[in-house]
Symmetry: C2
């Protein structure tokens, strides 16, 4: 039985989503075409639109559609404090605690030598340039408390301290092995208040 | 913190995929934009392309880009036999057993009153018209052996027998509660040979 070009392509394209196997991809394709063509079109346009418009903030490295994101442009924020997080989700979690009014830098990942993810992949040079602008006084490391997040924090800490910066780390109010995205705001708030100099 | 239009839309659109929650959708969006923009573009085009081109075969009801699908156009097949399946995946599974050389009808679902899925949603009128064309001699019901699949088979059987058709059902070589898509070809082959008149 010969296969169907567009349908086969769709299933193959869905398979490239993280965590989606061949059976799930085929079921998704059938589901969309049978029950939710509007969602399929919507997702199609959203993907092309996002790829076209989204890039990294020149200052904090998060995803944005403008050159310098709104957070970085916010004159109310304390630009002597720079909080380093792994992902935009982590930044959002910290914002929700209302305990930090400084600036951010988003690594878009964490060091993971086994996966071939090195300093370049977490934009280390961009972070160094951002942190050593003469205005930042303290860098708060808020990477996850996983092994990789801790190793990343250690690496960045050594790098920035060698340049004379004060570097602190969220206190271990966050459970060991925990990921910020899944921790309640109260715990994160306490960890922010208890942050320690590294 | 104000959100990002294109990025937010993408996460929302990914959420409409079956089985994807808000956290997964956001992670997928970040992953695609950070690590696989090519996959994101590819999926975007594949979705729009599929929605634009894929419709139901006028004869067997499966997804196709042409009016009558290639299987239905295959002159080698026995058009006195009509096998009824729930999904295109189930049809593929049966084809792999090489035990059936007749025609197909794809319901694109199963009856499920609790979910509001009735006869119209499984294209019952189209199936009746197809089965009563004067050429079909036997209808083989190959819906899943789940409760809903069995109920669907029973309903279709009664409907078609009332119109004087011979109706058979795959033998219970398929484990009770099993879904065809996950059963080995040997078991399906045996069930096809042992099919019984209902
Ligand atoms: Zn920014
Ligand atoms: Zn067909």
């Amino acid at each position: 039985m010969k296969k169907n070009g567009s349908l086969e392509h769709l299933a193959e394209a869905l398979r490239r989503l993280p965590g989606i196997g061949p059976k799930s991809a085929q079921r998704m394709a059938y589901h969309l075409l049978q029950h939710d063509r509007e969602a399929a079109s919507g997702l199609g346009h959203a993907l092309l639109n996002a790829v076209d418009r989204i890039h990294h903030c020149a200052s904090c490295n998060t995803f944005t559609e403008i050159d310098i994101c709104e957070t970085c442009q916010d004159a109310e924020r304390d630009d002597s404090m720079l909080c380093v997080v792994e992902t935009p989700s982590d930044q959002m979690m910290i914002e929700q605690t209302l305990t930090f009014k400084g600036m951010y830098f988003v690594l878009m990942g964490r060091l993971s030598p086994l996966d071939g993810i090195g300093p370049k992949d977490i934009y280390l040079e961009k972070l160094i340039a951002r942190a050593t602008n003469g205005i930042v006084k303290e860098v708060v490391l808020a990477t996850n408390f996983t092994n990789e997040g801790e190793a990343t924090a250690h690496y960045i800490s050594e790098t920035l301290k060698a340049r004379g910066l004060k570097v602190s780390r969220l206190a271990r109010g966050v459970p060991v092995g925990g990921e910020l995205e899944y921790v309640d705001a109260g715990t994160i708030a306490r960890a922010m208040l208890d942050r320690r100099t590294t």
